[in-house]
Each structure stands twice: as structure tokens, then as C-alpha cells.
């Protein structure tokens, strides 16, 4: 904790997909999926030893194809989903599947971390989330804070809600929704809202953001032209149920109140190229992480639209970790929104950034050339938020 210097880890392959192991609240652990057309793709399990500033990694083989999207089950540490590309007969198909990690992956790699001859273990396929009628899967979303029984997959222009049964070995579509409109509409990304009893979903397609009610599978709102160009990613504010962040190819990050979709409540224009990922901190929603293909990662402090616009007023409801952050309540001057820090450790486009599920002050980012960088929120800011 004493050292604020970033920790860098390099993968052998190019990579786009990154997730924190959601169900893991003790160890700082990230999952990275690689992209390679020639070799077996891998899932790297990155453990960060916070005390010693050391990264431990384990590799699992993902032989089905290159990974475009990865998601960890919120309930079961060992279950994850991927979206991957499969090439067969000169055709490229995107699929999605639920996997289970082998139980002993951890012990196996610790013995000989540098042994290249060591044969990595393979993921165990639980079930496919495929329905040939519904086209290519773009991403899979777990029900936030759920019991790991429900997932949504976005395939072309369909929203598919799956029920996983029999310890996830069987998946059945419980309901579907379809995006209709002119031209070839495709979902690029989506996010399952943790609010409203997990009954809402937001999706991005082209320049629009749409909200869905999962009970009726109907569209509940649509922000047309949310971004000038393609919308790349979304995230819900974990503490304010109507607040939503989005980012896209117009280099902007926008914050929306879905009750009033005419205008964004805030717009950030800090990146100099497309913004690929936006993530709220799970506990302190003023901290927003954005990753862009200008090779930069930016941490912003959006106090004015956070749930604590006057600083730390109420006790944290720590959603993701058991750490006690109880501090005395203090009234503070309204703070100003600002860019906390710009991280320039990447040399290539950064396509993914994630907060750790175990330590709210820690985050990882992944650039296309396979570089994973783990950073911390600057300590001054951390104390400012806490005290």
C-alpha cells in the first residue's frame, strides 16, 4: 500500500477483455482473455499481492477461440462467461459460453511459475449460450449481485435472458427482446442495472442508448444520438439509480440522468481518441475510470454528480467488500469535478479498465498489446474521500 507506482504485467498475446473476479472479495484478482488467431487463447488469472506489490498469474486455456468479452459470475468465483470468435470453414462466428475454472488452478501454477513447459489447464465448458437464430454474441452480462443463475447475452440485435440451471450446466432462454429499426442494428455493449431489483438493462447500439425493462422485455427509454459516433460502453452509478455513464467514438464521456434524457448532465472531453470503457468505482461513485484508444487511462473525480456531492456524508454501504470504512460524518464544501490523474503507461489503445472487486482503491487496465497495468487511486484523494 505504500507504493503508488503502477504495476505492469505483459501478456504474450493481444488482449481486449478484462474483468475483476466479482465474487472474490478478499484477493485482488483480475481475469484477462487474449486474442490470438493462431494459438490457443488463454485466460490469465492475475492475482495482485497488495502488500508486496507482486503479481501472480495463472493461465487457463480457452481453446474455443479468441476472447472478445469476459464476465465473472457474481456468486461463484470459478464460473465465468466469455464471448469468443470461432473460425470454421472461412467463417467467423461469435459465440458465448459459460465456463468453470478447474478447482486446482491455483496450486498448480504456484509451484513453477516460470516453467514454460508446464501445461496449463483447460477451462471446463459448462454450457453454450448460443442460439443460432439470434446471431453473433457481443457480450454477456451477469445479474449484478445475483445468485449466478441469470445472465443476459446480447447477440446482434437481440437481448437474450438466460436461466442457468443445474449448477450452470444448462441454459435456457427465459425471455428475449429484439431491437427493431432500419438497417443492421447491433448491440455493441450493455449493462445490467444493479438498481430496481435488477429489473433494468441498458444497451448501446450505434449512437443510441436504450433502457429495457427485463420483466416485460420492453424498451423503457432511448437516448438517441447519445454520442456523436458509436457508443462504446456504459456503466451504472452504483449508488444513484438513475445515473448512467457512457462513452464513445466522439472522445467524450457523458453522464446521464435517465429521467431526463434530453441533455447529459455532464460531459467530459479529456481523451483525444475514442473512449472504449467507462467504469464507476463500486463504492465511491465520484471516481470514474475511462480507457481510450489514445493509449491513456483517465481517473476523474466527478464529485458534483456523485452520491456524495459534499464529500463523505454517510457511512459507506460497501457493496463489494467487507472492509469497514466507517468514518465520522463531515460536512465539506462542495468539491469540484476534476481529472485526478492521467495514466500513460500504455503504448497501445486501452480497450478495457476495471476496478478491483476487493480493494476499492485499485484498478487494472488492459491495452491491445497485452499490457496490463494495475494502479491505485492517489493517496491524497483517497484520504480526502475517506476523511
Amino acid at each position: 500500500m505504500e507504493d503508488d507506482a503502477p504495476v505492469i504485467y505483459g501478456l504474450e498475446f493481444q488482449a481486449r477483455s478484462l474483468t475483476a473476479q466479482t465474487a472474490e472479495t478478499d484477493a485482488i484478482r483480475f481475469l484477462v482473455g487474449t486474442q490470438s488467431l493462431k494459438f490457443d487463447n488463454q485466460i490469465h488469472i492475475i492475482d495482485f499481492d497488495d502488500e508486496n506489490n507482486i503479481i501472480n498469474k495463472n493461465v487457463l486455456l480457452h481453446q474455443a477461440g479468441e476472447i472478445w468479452n469476459i464476465g465473472a459470475s457474481p456468486a461463484d468465483k470459478e464460473v465465468l462467461t466469455t464471448c469468443y470468435n470461432k473460425t470454421s470453414d472461412s467463417r467467423v462466428v461469435s459465440c458465448a459460453a459459460v465456463w468453470r475454472m478447474p478447482t486446482n488452478w491455483e496450486t498448480g501454477s504456484h509451484e513453477s511459475p516460470d516453467d514454460s513447459a508446464h501445461n496449463p489447464q483447460t477451462l471446463e465448458l459448462l454450457c453454450h449460450l448460443d442460439d443460432s437464430a439470434h446471431g453473433n454474441a457481443a457480450c454477456v452480462l451477469w445479474e449484478p449481485m445475483g445468485d449466478g443463475k441469470r445472465v443476459i447475452s446480447l447477440a446482434d440485435n437481440h437481448v437474450l435472458l438466460w436461466d442457468l440451471q443445474e449448477s450452470s450446466t444448462q441454459a435456457t432462454i427465459s425471455s428475449t427482446a429484439m431491437l427493431e429499426g432500419k438497417g443492421q442494428l447491433k448491440f455493441t455493449s450493455g449493462k445490467w442495472s444493479p438498481h430496481h431489483n435488477c429489473s433494468q438493462l441498458a444497451t448501446a447500439s450505434d449512437t443510441a442508448i436504450r433502457g429495457w425493462d427485463l420483466r416485460t422485455m420492453n424498451q423503457i427509454y432511448c437516448i438517441d444520438n447519445a454520442h456523436g459516433q458509436l457508443v462504446r460502453d456504459l456503466d451504472f452509478n452504483p449508488n444513484r439509480q438513475y445515473y448512467l455513464a457512457s462513452c464513445g467514438d466522439d472522445c467524450k464521456v457523458k453522464f446521464w440522468d435517465v429521467r431526463n434524457i434530453q441533455e447529459p448532465i455532464k460531459t467530459l472531453e479529456e481523451h483525444s481518441h475514442w473512449v472504449w470503457s467507462v467504469r464507476y468505482n463500486h463504492s465511491h461513485d465520484q471516481l470514474v475510470l475511462t480507457a481510450s484508444s489514445d493509449s491513456r487511462l483517465i481517473l476523474s473525480n466527478m464529485v458534483s454528480i456523485s452520491s456524495e456531492p459534499f464529500g463523505h456524508l454517510v457511512d459507506d454501504e460497501d457493496l463489494s467488500d467487507g472492509e469497514d470504512n466507517h468514518q465520522e460524518d463531515k460536512c465539506k464544501e462542495p468539491l469540484k469535478d476534476s481529472v485526478v490523474s492521467t495514466y500513460e503507461e500504455h503504448e497501445d489503445s486501452v480497450y478495457a479498465a476495471e476496478w478491483s472487486s476487493a480493494d476499492p482503491w485499485l484498478f487494472a487496465s488492459l491495452s491491445y498489446d497485452g499490457r496490463l497495468v494495475i494502479n491505485r487511486v492517489p493517496r491524497t484523494l483517497k484520504y480526502q474521500i475517506l476523511l
Binding site: Y9, E12, L37, T87, D115, S116, S349, D369, R371
Partner: protein, 848 residues
């Protein structure tokens, strides 16, 4: 000298003469000392030493001082004998003998002269004695004669006394009789006067008799007369009042009337009231007729308007170009009279009669009353306060009318008319100010003028702004119409015909120059119009407001500076409101505006402000917006516009590239035979953008080209680098190895900011656009999977881009780098990476 000391006895004055005369003969060298000494000795001799006390005191105690009063010869001799040698004693003796001798001769001369004077004085006294004796005799004779005359006179008056008393009595009776006759004739006379309407004569007659009648009213005969008179006078007063009330009479008659009534002890307060009411009703009529002019034409006359409309004021004023004519052509709401005419009527009718009323009122009730017996009753004060209230009330209504009228003056073209009207308005109010020194009327008038001026400045600002927006719309249209719009000179004519070549196609530089020229012209004409407010011959221009605040705050800040700010701001809005699609604003307009703002920054702003400062000679008391601040703002706007232009153009090309990558099945494509059409389109568009930017911006600097820029091959990716990457076996232990080359490459090349700020030159703009386009290409490629021929197609496309794009950018390595990345990434994303031979690629690209 000491002469003022001795002028008491006449003789001492005489005695003074000789020493002076003697002095003149003595050598000049020891003059003052000796004279003093001689004088002192003489004084001593005559016992006059008390005056010279101060002088003598220091020497007086020394017994050896031969000139001192305490001189002791014995002591002196002893001292001499003791102290001096024989020779010295001899000398002393001769000196003393000489002095004694000279003193003796002085004495002799004095005695002689004084003796002569005594002799002549004795003669004179004797002569006088004789003359006085003769005069005494004559005086005795005179007194005897006077006594005789007195005696005679007493006798004459004694004889005449009786007759004189009789005559006096007779004349007294005569006067009394005349008075009585006057009294008896008074009723008849009054009646006659009444008949002849010679009211004033009647009143004065009655006034003369009134006291007497009052005094003797206990006698029946006089009582009768008094009653008669009263009756007549009542009738007269009645008549006068009637006349007063009728109001048909002229002001002079009226005032005469009031004067008489006052003399008849009519209560002054009532009269004031009545007088003012009366005057008020007439002024009311004036006001009503004025009011009628303000809104005479709701819908009805408005229709007539078009046919009966007098030549528009703007024509007479001749404020210049078509632009203003356009704004002034809006029908002004009150079309019947222009404002000058209105104010003229207001001044001539209302203000002048108001002045008349004030003067006559003051004449009657204030000045007149002060002299008469009415002064005691505080009438002047009462009358004055009434007058003030009256004037204030009427003036307030008049002002509200004027203000309403001024508010209707919306058209901007006819400023001189307004200024002249205001001037007249203001000037006429000065008359009121002179008449009524304490009145708040002129103050309010000044405020109205100031308000009107500020309002006018606001209108000009609005007019300038709308003119600017109209010009932009015109430019937009001109840009939208095809280049060869020979048949549409209309676009050019909007700009005051300032462009000579209006037949030429509206190219960007011409549009820019005509736009900025027309804006400048407009500003100048507006300044000229506003300048009228401060012209020398305008009365109110020397008010402190118009000298200082109006020039500084009004014109400079809220007109000129605001307009410049508006230009910048509206320009900036094009960047923001145009939406992220950039669809609504044509890119060329962005470019043009950016250049406009840049020109403003470099020269126009300082020119305009200098012009303003010169014209208005403003001494800036309050801090004003500095030129530099405005320039910075303009520059910022220019930068923003140019950045936005780059972004918009970049996005247009990006969109083409993205569509072309996304919609193709790269795995199952056929072997490339030629460059894809979209690449040609990209190059074409880039070229035309280059031409467009080149019209308005300078070339800019670029790094030196390598000699064979277009021939460069992608050797790095096609062989060695690719091989290294893929040859490396899967080695989890050495995570950095495989990326080493690419990372090293990146280490040495600077980080590229894609949507970064550009400089104000062509090369920088083009670099920005190409950067955006190629980065999009790269990102799109990374999202796809390629087959062998897909990769080869990308190779061909990139080579083609390479051949043409390098020339546009400042640093061709940038293009190389990005294209390398594209081809590298697509090779990476290729299922079967078998690059095409460089020679083949070249052949294909040569073929086009």
C-alpha cells in the same frame, strides 16, 4: 535721519538746516560720523537729548569721552598725561585746538543765521497787527445792518398772517369737495367702465375710494354710495370670473383678469387653482393630440400604409448599405409622423405653452404678489409649490408620451432623426429649467435622453448581430450553391457591393473578404450613427454622461466590444450546437469563420477599437475590456473552429473508411486486383479539403521529405517484424518479448494525439484530418478478422494511401507509422498471413 524726532518746536526745524548745509561742504569720507556728532552736540546744547537716549547711552558712562555728557576734563587730562608720550600730547593738543576752532566757527554761523530770521519774523508780526485792526471795524458795521433787516421782515409777516390762513382753509375745502364729488360720481363712473369693459380703470377707481367709504360707512349717504359700489364691483368681479372661466380669452387677457381679481381681494389660492386648472385643460388638449399621434394606426392605417407611405426616413438620412435598408424596411409601428415631427409638435405646442403658462403664472402670483400687499400671506410659496406640482404632473405625462414614442422608434436607420428629435426635446426643456429653477423636469428629460441613447445602442447591437447572422446565412447559401453560380450575383450583392468581382464564383477568399468588409462597413456606419449623439451641435452631448459614460460604457463596451464578443461566441456555438454529427454546419463555413476570427485577432479588433476610441475620444475612467483580452477570445474562437473543422472533416473521411471496413467480409474476399474505390474517394476528398484549406490558410512548415516518399515499402511489417512476432513460441515466462519490437518502435516515436489542437496553417490542418482518418481505419481493422486476400487488400489500400497522403502532412513519418500499424494489425488479425509481394502492390497501385 532723526528728523522725525524733533518736529515739535518750529525753531528746531529751522536749526536743523545749517548743519546739513555745512555737511555738504565737508569731505564725504567722514560724513556720517561727524554729522552725527555735531548734531549730538547741538542737541545737548539745547537740552533735547531725551530722543537720542538710545544712541548716547553706551558712551555716556565714559568720563574720558570728550563728546559724552559725563565728560570729566580733569580725568581726561590725567589719563592723557599718563598714557601718551609728549609727541602724542602735542598732536592731541593741535587736534583739539583745531576742533575747538571749527566748533567756534560753526557756532558763529548758526548764531548769525538765526539772528537774521528773528529780524524778519518781527517785521511780519508787526504788519499783521495793523491789518487786524482794520477788519474789526468792518465787522461792526455788518452786524448793525443785519439788525435793521430783521426788524423789517418781522413787520411784513405780521401784516400778511391773516390772509394766508384764509387761503389755506379755502384750498382744503376745495380738495375735500373734489373728493366728495369723486365719491358721489363713483357708481356712475364704475357703471360706465363696466359698460366699456374698462375693468382695470374701474378697479383702480374703486380701490381709491374703498378706504374712505369704509371709514364713513356709518353715514347714510356714504353708505348708499358704498353699497352701490359694492354691487357694481360684485358684478364686475362676476364678469371677470366669467371671463376667466370661459377661457376663450388669450393668455394676456387672462392674466389681466387674474390681476384684477387679485386686486379685488379674490383668494389667491383659488385663483391659482383655477388658473392652473384652466391652463391644464388647454395643455391637456395638446397632450391628447400628441397621444393621438402615437397609436393612430392599429390595423386600418397600417394597410393604407403601404400605399401612402412617405419616403422612408432611411433614404433621407442616407445611412448606407442595403443591409440597413433591409432592417429599416420593417414597417415602423407609427408611420404617420416621424419622431422629429412628433417631438417638434410636442415642443411647439406643449412645451412652449407650458413655458408660457409658467411665465405668466409666475408673473401673476409669484413676482407680482411679492411686491404687493399679498406678499405677507405667503402667497409666493404657496403659488410656487402649486406650480411645481402642476408642472411635474404634466411633464410626467408628457415624458411618458415621449418615451412611448421613442420606444416605437425601432428602425435603426434613421438615427440622425432621433438624435435631432432628442436634441430638440432636450433644448426645449432647458427653457423650463430656466423658468423653474428647482424643478426636476430637466433632470427627468436628461434621463429620458440617456435612456433613449442606451436603448438605441442596444438596438444597434441587435441590428449588428442580426446583420452578422444574416451575412452568415448568405455565406451559407453561397457555399451551398454550386461553384459556378454565375447567374446568381445576388449572393454578392448582399455585401454592399463592396466586392468588385461579384460575377465571379463565390470562392472562399472572396466570401471571406466580402463578409469581413461588409461587417466592418456595418460597424463603421453604426459608429457614425451613434456618433451623432456626441456631435458638438447637440445640446446634450456636453452632459457628463455623454462625454464619459456613453462613449466608454455605451459605445465601446456595450456596442463594439459586445459585438466582437458576440461574433466569437456565435462562432463558438457553431462548434457546440452543431451536434456531434457536424451535419448542420458546412465545414467550409467553419473554416471561413475560423479565418475570420483569426483575422479579427490579428488586426480587425484593434482597428475597430482604435477607430472607436478615436471617434469618441473616450477617456476611460472605468476599466474597459482590453484589446488583448478580446484578441485572446477571438483567437480561442478561431482555434476552436479550426479544431472543429478538422474534427468534422476527419469524421467524414473516417465514416467512409469505417463503413468500408465494417461492411466487408474480409475472410472470404477475392484476391485484390485494384485499389478499393473508397480509398480513391478518400484521396480525392483529402485533396479537395487541401485545396479548400489552402484558399484561406498559409502552407505551414513540414519536415523534409525523404526523396522517395511515395515509394516507401512496408518492409517492417511485411517480413521481419511479423516473423519475429509469430515465430516466438508461446512463452509465458517472457511476457515482454513478443511485443518488444513494436514497443521499441513506439518508444522512439512520439505519442500521437489524434484529436489534438491544430495550428493555423494548412499542413497542420491536413495532418489533423489524416491522423483522425487513419486512426479510425486502424481501430476498425482491429475489430475484424482477415483472410489472406483481406490482408493483401489492406496492403494495397495502405500503399495507395501512402502514395498520396504523405504530401499533405507535416511529418510523413506519421502517415508511415499509422499505415504500418494498420497493416501490422490486419496481419495480426489475419487467419492466413501471407503478405503480397511489394512489387505486385506497386503495380496494382500504379494502375490506380
Amino acid at each position: 535721519m532723526d528728523s522725525r524726532g524733533y518736529n515739535s518746536p518750529a525753531i528746531s526745524a529751522e536749526l536743523e538746516q545749517p548743519p546739513i548745509a555745512m555737511e555738504a561742504e565737508t569731505p564725504a569720507s567722514e560724513d556720517p560720523g561727524r554729522k552725527r556728532r555735531v548734531h549730538g552736540m547741538l542737541k545737548l546744547y539745547y537740552g533735547l537729548n531725551e530722543e537720542g537716549k538710545a544712541d548716547e547711552e553706551p558712551q555716556s558712562l565714559d568720563p574720558c569721552d570728550i563728546n559724552g555728557p559725563h565728560f570729566d576734563p580733569e580725568h581726561y587730562l590725567n589719563k592723557l598725561r599718563k598714557e601718551c608720550s609728549l609727541a602724542e600730547l602735542m598732536d592731541q593738543e593741535t587736534c583739539m585746538v583745531k576742533q575747538i576752532r571749527s566748533l567756534d566757527s560753526d557756532m558763529q554761523t548758526l548764531v548769525y543765521e538765526n539772528y537774521n530770521k528773528f529780524i524778519s519774523a518781527t517785521d511780519t508780526i508787526r504788519k499783521m497787527k495793523n491789518d487786524f485792526k482794520k477788519m474789526e471795524d468792518e465787522m461792526d458795521c455788518l452786524s448793525a445792518n443785519m439788525a435793521a433787516i430783521t426788524d423789517f421782515s418781522a413787520r411784513i409777516s405780521g401784516t400778511l398772517e391773516d390772509q394766508h390762513a384764509q387761503i389755506t382753509k379755502l384750498s382744503g375745502v376745495h380738495t375735500l369737495l373734489r373728493k366728495l364729488q369723486f365719491l358721489f360720481e363713483l357708481p356712475a363712473r364704475l357703471n360706465k367702465c363696466l359698460e366699456l369693459q374698462a375693468y382695470s380703470q374701474a378697479v383702480s377707481s374703486h380701490r381709491r375710494a374703498r378706504c374712505v367709504l369704509q371709514q364713513y360707512s356709518h353715514m347714510p349717504s356714504f353708505k348708499g354710495i358704498q353699497d352701490d359700489c359694492h354691487a357694481i364691483m360684485d358684478k364686475l368681479a362676476q364678469e371677470l370670473r366669467q371671463k376667466f372661466r370661459d377661457g376663450g380669452s388669450s393668455a394676456k387677457d387672462l392674466s389681466e383678469c387674474v390681476e384684477l381679481l387679485l386686486q379685488l381681494d379674490e383668494p389667491a389660492e383659488d385663483l391659482c387653482e383655477k388658473y392652473l386648472n384652466h391652463a391644464g385643460s388647454r395643455l391637456e388638449l395638446d397632450l391628447q393630440s400628441l397621444e393621438a399621434e402615437i397609436r393612430p394606426s392599429p390595423p386600418g392605417p397600417a394597410l393604407k400604409d403601404s400605399s401612402t407611405r412617405r419616403p422612408s426616413p432611411s433614404v433621407t438620412v442616407g445611412s448606407p448599405p442595403d443591409g440597413t435598408a433591409k432592417t429599416s424596411a420593417l414597417p415602423s409601428p407609427s408611420s404617420n409622423t416621424d419622431i422629429l415631427e412628433f417631438i417638434d409638435r410636442g415642443c411647439n405646442e406643449f412645451v412652449s405653452s407650458l413655458c408660457l403658462v409658467i411665465t405668466s403664472y409666475q408673473e401673476l402670483f409669484v413676482n407680482h404678489a411679492q411686491t404687493g400687499e399679498l406678499a405677507s400671506k405667503n402667497i409666493p410659496q404657496m403659488a410656487n409649490s402649486k406650480l411645481h406640482a402642476f408642472v411635474d404632473d404634466l411633464a410626467a405625462r408628457y415624458f411618458s408620451l415621449v418615451e412611448r414614442r421613442i420606444k416605437e422608434e425601432k428602425g435603426v436607420a434613421d438615427n440622425s432623426l432621433l438624435v435631432r428629435a432628442l436634441d430638440r426635446f432636450f433644448r426645449r426643456l432647458q427653457a423650463v429649467a430656466k423658468l423653474l429653477p428647482g424643478s426636476s423636469v430637466p433632470q427627468q428629460g436628461t434621463e429620458i435622453v440617456i435612456r433613449a441613447a442606451t436603448e438605441r445602442v442596444k438596438q444597434y447591437l441587435a441590428a449588428l448581430q442580426s446583420f452578422y447572422m444574416d451575412s452568415l446565412t448568405d455565406v451559407r447559401q453561397a457555399l451551398a450553391t454550386p461553384r459556378l453560380s454565375l447567374a446568381a450575383p445576388g449572393a454578392g450583392s448582399h455585401f454592399g457591393g463592396s466586392t468588385s468581382g461579384r460575377d465571379a464564383p463565390s470562392s472562399l477568399p472572396e466570401l471571406l473578404s466580402s463578409l469581413s468588409a461588409s461587417i466592418l462597413n456595418q460597424i463603421k456606419s453604426v459608429l457614425a450613427s451613434v456618433h451623432l449623439f456626441t456631435a458638438k451641435d447637440i445640446t446634450f452631448s456636453n452632459k457628463p454622461y455623454f462625454k464619459g459614460e456613453f462613449c466608454c460604457q455605451g459605445v465601446r463596451e456595450s456596442l463594439v466590444v459586445s459585438f466582437i464578443k458576440f461574433v466569437c461566441q456565435s462562432s463558438r456555438q457553431f462548434c457546440e450546437s452543431a451536434g456531434d454529427k457536424g451535419g448542420s454546419t458546412p465545414p467550409a463555413l467553419l473554416l471561413l469563420l475560423s479565418r475570420l476570427c483569426l483575422d479579427y485577432e490579428t488586426s480587425t479588433i484593434s482597428y475597430i477599437l482604435t477607430l472607436t476610441d478615436e471617434q469618441f475620444l473616450a477617456q476611460h475612467h472605468n476599466p474597459v475590456t482590453a484589446v488583448t483580452a478580446l484578441c485572446a477570445e477571438a483567437r480561442e474562437a478561431a482555434q476552436k473552429l479550426l479544431n472543429h473543422y478538422v474534427k468534422v472533416q476527419g469524421l467524414i473521411i473516417s465514416q467512409m473508411l469505417r463503413k468500408s471496413v465494417e461492411t466487408r467480409d474480409w475472410v472470404n474476399t477475392i484476391e485484390p486486383r485494384n485499389v478499393r474505390a473508397v480509398m480513391k474517394r478518400v484521396v480525392e476528398d483529402t485533396t479537395s479539403i487541401d485545396v479548400q484549406v489552402g484558399l484561406l490558410y498559409e502552407e505551414g512548415v513540414r519536415k523534409a521529405h525523404s526523396s522517395d516518399s511515395s515509394k516507401r515499402t512496408f518492409s517492417v511489417y511485411s517480413s521481419s517484424r511479423q516473423q519475429t512476432r509469430y515465430a516466438a513460441s508461446y512463452t509465458p515466462s517472457a511476457p515482454m518479448d513478443t511485443n518488444l519490437l513494436s514497443n521499441i518502435h513506439k518508444l522512439f516515436s512520439e505519442r500521437i494525439d489524434i484529436f489534438s489542437s491544430v495550428e493555423f496553417n494548412k499542413v497542420s490542418v491536413m495532418t489533423g484530418i489524416i491522423k483522425i482518418s487513419l486512426k479510425t481505419f486502424l481501430e476498425c481493422v482491429r475489430l475484424r478478422t482477415f483472410g489472406r486476400y483481406g490482408l493483401q487488400q489492406i496492403q494495397v489500400d495502405c500503399h495507395y494511401l501512402q502514395m498520396y497522403l504523405w504530401r499533405f502532412v507535416s511529418d510523413e513519418n506519421l502517415v508511415h507509422f499509422l499505415l504500418d500499424e494498420i497493416v501490422g494489425s490486419s496481419a495480426h488479425r489475419c487467419l492466413d498471413p501471407a503478405p503480397m509481394e511489394q512489387s505486385v502492390i506497386e503495380v496494382i497501385c500504379e494502375r490506380g
